[in-house]
Subunit: 293 residues, 2 copies
């Protein structure tokens, strides 16, 4: 494989950053990898696992001479990071990110970047409930989608290069507007996570003995929610704070639908329940057909 | 292994019934298996897959001479089945079931059974989103819990025999009161399924193009819900209709918790969000420690 970017700087080297670093190394698409992390333990782990050639706690130092900068921290930090790194970016450098919300990231980052660098916002739709550089693995993106949301004036060559990087990592690439991305993800990701956090929270509030039984008998459905609700708390806090409108809109629709089902149960209306339960099977078949199961 | 029951009759031979039949054959705990199913296709499949030695569409004929009768149909059918089989049950026969709600099953079945048979209600906490005899496999119950909810007067020897049967199939066995079972399962199973059905339903109602995108990008959380929401519609309709009080009570708590999170998002209250999201991780660790993950 051809080198796409000589020197890459990761700002944040958790599950996603370290998986990308491992995949890039495997693919030979980059030469040198610098990882920036605030916590000493994270830096040591990144070095020990050889996901980075060098590490630093200093954003500015990390991006010096980099051909590609990947911002892979909780999105609440992105504006501060953009401000700090902006004066130190090499002319012609490509800046990308992996945040789960795109409009807020564009608004936070783009205004601070100099005109001679290329910003290509991105979001790989892949992950696990684990965090930290030790959780990463190079196959994470295989057969998964990565969505790029370039601005109208973004250099097409830079977009193509980032797309090629992702495809080499095994991902499928789509391009869309940031706002549209945020609405789709509010449904497919943000609401499911919020619901999972809520239901596991409801169970956490139960009396001690009942909570122990909930854990014991979790294989009956609850278990799947606990996996989702074990995702990184700071990352998810930032997602909800930064995709507020789309998330509130979809919570509203969900609540109305739940109220309708609640009413059907109260009234003993089996027909309404069965009709809805049969209908949702079709969506599962769609996912299996789309090979995303 | 010793034969526990010479002749077993399954009323219903779907995912659970056929998995039990396969496990019993493997273990050598039974000799002859009769399967009763209303649909000809199900009977043919059961015979072809050799999960039953003989099949019938007639409840009464199925239970004749049986030492164990397993009712494994959607629970809405249980009262009618109990009425029909009662006069044909052999003296000393053990009747059990696998329903996901226990008080309603006890109320529907127990009054109709003659005094000289032993009713041991049961619920194996295991399953997949697939239905029908072809979906069964003998390992389904391994390391999973089966809850038995015998009545105060139930013969202890019959309870022990059913418990031994389940343990031989690889399950762990617990005994509790039917009403307590129904409250625990309302949280661990019935609410998660209702929520999954709701969220997938909300997505189904989206405009066509948006729904296609939801399927495409489902790997971001939504996917896990669609698996749960692909479960058997009639079985789940009957569960909600028969565990109404416990389910409505737990929906109420869940809705209050969701409203609180909704408010935190609206107000931009990151601290409340982060605190809850961190707390729910502990429940996941509990499940991993309990080896139910």
């Amino acid at each position: 494989m051809q080198i796409l970017f000589e020197r890459v700087a990761f700002i944040g080297i958790g599950l996603i950053g370290s998986s990308m670093a491992r995949a890039m190394r495997r693919d030979g698409t980059v030469n040198t990898i610098v990882a920036c992390a605030r916590r000493a333990e994270t830096r040591e782990t990144a070095l020990r696992l050889k996901v980075a050639d060098s590490v630093t706690a200093d954003y500015a130092e990390a991006v010096k001479g980099a051909d590609l900068v990947v911002i892979a921290t909780p999105i609440g930090t992105n504006e501060e990071i953009a401000k700090i790194i902006a004066p130190h970016l090499k002319a012609g450098c490509v800046v990308t990110d992996v945040g789960s919300v795109k409009q807020a990231v564009v608004d936070a980052v783009a205004p601070h970047l100099p005109k001679n660098v290329h910003f290509v916002p991105g979001h790989p739709i892949a992950g696990t409930e684990h965090s930290g550089p030790e959780s990463g693995f190079p196959e994470l993106f295989e057969n998964r989608w990565t969505i790029l949301t370039p601005l109208p004036h973004t250099d097409q060559a830079a977009v193509d290069k980032v797309a090629t990087l992702w495809r080499t990592m095994g991902a499928k690439v789509d391009v869309m507007k940031p706002g549209h991305h945020d609405m789709v993800l509010a449904i497919t990701s943000h609401l499911p996570h919020l619901i999972a956090y809520t239901i596991v929270g409801t169970a956490t509030d139960l009396a001690d003995d009942l909570r122990q039984e909930v854990i014991k008998y979790s294989a009956s459905g609850f278990r799947d929610f606990t996996r989702i609700a074990a995702s990184d708390p700071v990352m998810w806090r930032d997602i909800f704070l930064n995709n507020k409108d789309a998330v509130l809109e979809i919570i509203q629709r969900f609540s109305e639908d739940l109220t309708a089902l609640q009413k059907a149960i109260r009234k003993g209306d089996g027909e309404t329940l069965e009709t809805l339960f049969a209908r949702t099977r079709a969506v599962r078949r769609g996912i299996i057909d789309a090979k995303q199961a």
